[in-house]
Amino acid sequence: MTATAGRSCGIPHPSGGLDVTAATAARLDHAEAINRRIHAFLHLDRDGALAAAGRLERQPADARGSLFGLPVAVKDNIAVRGLPSTSGSAVLRNYRAPYDATVVERLRRAGAVILGTTNLDEFAMGSATTTGFRGPTRNPVAPDRIVGGSSGGPAAAVAAGAVPAALGTDTGGSVRLPAAHTGIFGIRPTYGRVSRFGITAYASSFDQVGCLASDLHELAQVLSVVSGADPRDATSIDREVPDFTAAAARPALPRAVVACSDEDIGILDAPSRTAFFRALRRFEEAGTTIRRFRLPEAVTTISAYYVLACAEASSNLARFDGMRYGSRVAGDGTLAAAFRESRTAGFGDEVRLRILLGTTVLSQGYRDAIYAAATAARKAIRDRLSGALEPGELLLLPIARTSPRRLSDPIEAGEDYEGDRFTVLAALAGFPALAVPAGERNGLPFGVELMALPWQETTLLSAAAAFSALPGATAQRSTSPSRGAAGAP
């Protein structure tokens, strides 16, 4: 653990100790600099971070946690006590979290230094990090392009070297997609592995906190710290947390790679298809058993996901009514108007669209027809994926259909929904999935997804370590200043 501290954060101090304050200050300066370019952070907490660094320095060496001095960024829908927590929405423009999310508590206890909160799509609804009320985040690899979303802020902060690791949330792919678009690692753990307490809910039965990092080592370390049952989250599951850091340090190819079929790959553009086959071939050449698997139908998968996620979202976002906190618009003075006007003014277009969609599918007459059908489809998808995998085997999937588009490119309504075709599978099933850098196409990062049966994150981490070390692997992009070694950010 001192190795980490030295590598990621501490600057050797003349006294022989580590100067966490100086390292943190350097990180903050760097974060400020990159932020002007790519807008990864919504709020940099210079005072809080330096204070935390000071406290860490005064800690006796034997009391240091596993993340001692590690600077991290946290997506803005994760509560950090005292910091603005807007979820990228105007409705929460003036809201500050009065408490720490469980994951934040755990990060602090392990010695991490929270530099600030990062950008996202409004209420994590989106795949580009363009819908937040403070504007889009740019891709650090190609600043005229989207970074992917909705955890675009955390991904950009990591990829630009402001922090070695960050926390995001993944509802339908929100950690994995921006990880793939920025050439870093991003994990969505098994549903129930990590507490959701303090995460502004988008779709509760899908939402999971995920970790993003430029290096598997930090990814695994952070995951270890935030994992484990939480008495404040009834959906967290009491299950032993394995040593993820050890798994990440122990490369091991999976027993078999189950790759999606050629038909499924058909929706990728040609360069992405080529890149995917290249990744598959790498496993094959290393001697891994390969099977192919026809994924559950795209239309069913996407519909089930959006019906259920929007239904839950319409309910979860009902609390933003302008009454107790958040912005209120009085309207004509009646109660009904105050509710209607506050919500109409507070939410952006995409959020309103999803609330309306979710409200509709739960309404009388539709609930049984649509919501119930989507629930059944979800179960069928989970069963089908369970049936496709044995313990120790991994499913290999693409993440994005194309390279990240230019911010200036117009998009058609619903286009982004179709793009979620691969990532929503793990979300629907509740399975763990890891975005792994797999080279480039069109000069832009390309990532693949490895998915495992529930609780098999160690298999994912060891396989990703093995894959990244295979000949021809360019897991680390040369342009990504990922190992932001101390003093050289």
Binding site: S85, R196, A201, S205, S315, L317, A318, R319
Partner: protein, 496 residues
């Protein structure tokens, strides 16, 4: 002429559970605190907060289910019921819907008055019992600016409730009241809630419809809200029943709607009609996995279930031989019944026969104990102490007239009846040797009066009683004194 119409009533009763904390968070479940002092991220509905069910609330709800003869579902589901209102922090209430905690129970009611020449003696079905959270409360006055705006007190938000939904089995307002009273009595008896209606711990809504006698289908249903005392329940149901009957008799239609009872004017008025009724968009709460009863909870609830008043009173009559009205009065209150049983147990433990101990104990408890309780709200002496007194009385060791004085002293000092008896000079008086010895001495000291008595002048005994009472400074029981003297006077008769 028989009544051409039939009224059909069902009740929905909300009962706050007597837990220490709220249903889904650790905030206190406490009535009467300053507004908004029992709040946290969870019950205030802050972003990111999550509910965790209170085990104690589940236990109490299960107990209520058992007390109402319900089937308890090993697995039930929390769902979200959506509507917007300022007192509802999350924009939805966590409740149960498709899979409630308990179902298919029943409550027996009996009415003294007869209806249509038939006595009312029937079971009212319990359709379901569901666990849910309470909402906050709007406050319209008593704070700065209350002339211009209303406030919300969220202390009540998240307090655990059960909703007890009856079947439409009641046929008159009186039956509904009898049902509600029986429900309340059971809830209080098994300590699920104090069901104090003034505090809003028990709240009732009624569903009323009227149909032509003999019809199979129910008439159009009207929901009545705001029935917050038995008196208002009765009046509102009677008013509504009459209103619907008049409508039907006049050939008009009853509109399906929700009506509010106006307590001041004694009428029901439309609140909202079904056309603008809300669609609650129920769906299972994704924050809460299905509620599986923890191992042992059902058994624990079952064993915590008390014997209910009717069975208890019946046992007191048959096993203790006490009078029906006394048995009923004692059994109706669980604390009183427990106190009575403790007293009888102590007395029989000291050697009294059950029937005698029960008779004396029942008499004392329904008079002295209850009237003292009225003064300071508690049972002045523990049941073991009263049991000793009861035993002394039953064994005639303590004169009846002295018992009250001893009881008072016992309540005031907390000492035992036996100690106080000696101290107050009552020892050995009742049927004891001291009484007989004194009587014999007095008889010997007044030979003329003795002879007069023996010669048939029985009135002379009054003189002896007076003497004896004076000797014993009034501590003896007059009847027992008289009996002792009679024995002494008869003893020598026929001799000398």
């Amino acid at each position: 002429m028989t009544d051409p119409f039939e009224t059909v009533i069902g009740l929905e009763v909300h009962v706050q559970l007597d837990t220490r904390t709220k249903l889904f968070c650790g905030c206190p479940n406490k009535f009467g605190s300053p507004p908004n002092t029992h709040l946290c991220a969870v019950c205030y509905g802050l972003p990111g907060a999550l509910p965790v069910p209170n085990r104690r609330a589940v236990e109490l709800a299960v107990r209520a289910g058992l007390a109402l003869d319900c089937e308890i579902n090993e697995e039930s589901v929390f769902e979200r019921k959506h509507y917007f209102y300022p007192d509802l922090p999350k924009g939805y209430q966590i409740t149960q819907y498709e899979f409630p905690l308990a179902e298919a129970g029943s409550v027996h009611i009996r009415l003294e008055e007869e209806r249509d020449g038939e006595p009312v003696d029937r079971n009212v079905g319990i359709n379901r019992i569901q666990i849910e959270e309470d909402a906050g409360k709007l406050v319209h006055d008593g704070f700065p600016g209350s002339d211009k705006r209303s406030g919300v007190d969220f202390n009540r938000a998240g307090v655990p409730l059960i909703e007890i939904v009856s079947d439409p089995d009641m046929r008159s307002a009186a039956e509904a009241v009898a049902y509600a009273r029986e429900l309340k009595s059971r809830i209080v008896y098994c300590r699920v809630s104090d069901a104090d209606m003034e505090k809003g711990n028990l709240r009732m809504d009624g569903n009323v419809s009227v149909r032509r006698r003999g019809d199979v289908d129910y008439g159009v249903k009207v929901e009545l809200k705001n029935l917050n005392s038995f008196r208002f329940l009765q009046r509102a149901l009677e008013y509504e029943e009459q209103r619907q009957r008049e409508a039907l008799a006049g050939g008009r239609k009853v509109v399906q709607e929700t009506r509010l009872y106006d307590e001041a004017r004694g009428v029901t008025e439309p609140m909202r009609s079904k056309e603008e009724a809300e669609d609650y968009r129920y769906f299972p709460d994704p924050d809460l996995p299905p509620l599986r009863l923890p191992e042992g909870l059902l058994e624990a609830a079952r064993s915590a279930l008390p014997e209910f008043p009717r069975a208890r009173a019946a046992r007191y009559r048959s096993e203790h031989g006490i009078a029906s009205d006394q048995a009923g009065r004692i059994a109706a209150r669980r604390d009183l019944a427990d106190y009575y049983e403790g007293t009888v147990a102590a007395a029989t433990g000291a050697g009294s026969p059950v029937v005698e101990a029960a008779a004396v104990a029942a008499g004392w408890i329904t008079t002295e104990v209850v009237s003292r309780e009225k003064l300071d709200g508690r049972f002045a002496a523990p049941p073991e102490r009263l049991g000793e007194l009861v035993h002394l009385l039953a064994a005639k060791e303590l004169p009846r007239n002295a018992a009250r004085e001893v009881f008072q002293a016992m309540c005031d000092t907390g000492r035992t009846a036996r100690e106080l008896m000696a101290e107050l000079g009552f020892a050995d008086l009742a049927g004891g040797s001291r009484l007989d010895e004194t009587a014999a001495r007095l008889v010997a000291e007044h030979p003329e009066d003795r002879d007069a008595y023996r010669a048939g002048k029985k009135k002379v005994i009054g003189f002896f009683v007076g003497q004896l009472m004076r000797e014993l400074r009034g501590k003896a029981d007059a009847r027992e004194a008289r009996a002792a003297l009679e024995r002494a006077l008869e003893r020598g008769s026929g001799e000398s």
